[in-house]
Amino acid sequence: MSIKRAAAIVGVGDVELENGKVIGNKSVFQIQAMAAKRALDDAGIKKEEVDGLFTAGLWGLPGVGQFPSAVIGEYLGIQPRYSDSTQIGGSSFEAHVGHAAAAIQSGLCEVALILYGSTQASDSVRLPVKPTTLTGQYETPFGLPNPVGAYAMAAHRHMHQYGTKQEHLAEIAVATRKWAQLNPEATKREPLSIDDVLNSKMISDPLHLLDCCLVTDGAGAIVLVSAERAKDCRKKPIWILGQGESHSHWSIHAMPDLATVTSAQKSGKAAFEMAGVTHDDIDVVEIYDSFTITVLLTLEALGFCKPGEGGDFVANQRTAPGGVFPLNTNGGGLSYAHPGMYGIFLLIEAVRQLRGECAERQVEGAKIALVNGIGGSLSTSSTCILGRD
């Protein structure tokens, strides 16, 4: 059974940042409330109509964060009849879209609110070190820098197997920065060269500082409704054409092949088959750039190029504004913002592109977008293919 066109995104919302931080020292609840209110206003839907609540967070852990949908539900005064706090890291929100569409199709809810927020930059807290219990006991005692170390190992393996170069990875950071320069909301907008990336401080070989995403605050919200309810919204529907998800491992040592993201292969294949479209039909692509290597591996896994050809695919600024392959058009996690789990912002940018709301960075005539989230240590993936009428 397929969820194709069972549901549409009719509202999106986020919050402004200043130097990567929320303005006015707002709390992680305040900014999620702002994003939710903006998304509902965008759709022209009242809060009372929300009957499905989907959220995942890194806030409030350990403690209230263990129950994120119940806590945010209480804060916003939402008592849903469908609740999902699937937490698979950065790809959680692409999974939420699929789960919400399936719930809507089954009649288990009609108006779904998907929500995320983080004040990690304002709070000066970084992703915590994995505890030395359970599977962490086989990693943490050896001092793997988290999360960059696992991605660095994948980069080394890809370089070893396919001859990929640090310059290839730098191409991605530079192209993404060019998109950020067209986005007034982006955190990093100063010009960037390949040499700047290669000369930036080495963090975890072979990844430099400028191969790594930003550490910022941020909040985002999405309103997803049934096809019926979508007829009467303020904004035109952006349809869920296809969705897939998978995970292959948690600890990086258990990743089947460090040069191949099998979870992205599976989720991409499922989404393409459900949508009934081909790679050539995709007008704009938003994929997870936690690190430059994440982008290269995901492009291969999704089948935009063959395994090992990611380096050539991104060479010569092919993914920059004016290039043949518009990618991460808001400036991505590398230059726009990256509040811990970035997946919801990929969806928000895709919706804005398909609506034609992106001003200077607008991809002309974009009708179909592909969004792919990646979470953990290249562990989890979910793909959404979105389209307008």
Binding site: L144, I203, H253
Partner: protein, 134 residues
């Protein structure tokens, strides 16, 4: 000044035999009696075939560097003096992978697929399996 201790594993029902083995200088891993695959980390059932017929066997301690990184920033305050250090995924000859450090070499020397062998090293009262180039 705060004194930071290096992180050490928390042995549990799955792992106690493994860590006890390390303290005796043995790299013990599981082998499935049904599908004959070796298994790491230790589990109650085989992740290949769900069999609960698992035996402990001593691994040869030989393997290859599957991949690695050079940590230029410490993952924990206790490791600041160790920077730069190598964190690697070791593929044992038995076919399983584990995370460890490659020690007693210049960090710039290490490459994927180099041969390594196990060497046991004390850390805060426990014994961890580390590896050296051969």
């Amino acid at each position: 000044m705060t004194e930071y201790k290096k992180p050490i594993p928390t042995p549990d029902g799955d792992s106690k035999t493994f860590w006890d083995g390390c303290s005796e200088g043995k790299l013990l891993i599981q082998k499935c009696n049904d599908c004959k695959n070796h298994i790491f980390y230790p589990r109650e059932v085989c992740p290949h075939c769900m069999s609960d017929q698992l035996n402990w066997v001593e691994a040869s301690g030989k393997g290859k560097v599957y991949s690695y990184t050079i940590a230029r920033r410490a993952a924990h305050p206790s490791l600041i003096e160790d920077v730069p250090y190598i964190v690697a995924l070791i593929e044992l000859d038995e076919g399983v992978r584990l995370m460890s450090n490659i020690i007693n070499c210049d960090v710039e020397e290490v490459r994927c697929d180099m041969d390594v062998k196990v060497i046991f090293q004390k850390q805060e009262g426990m014994v961890l399996p580390k590896f050296e180039l051969v």
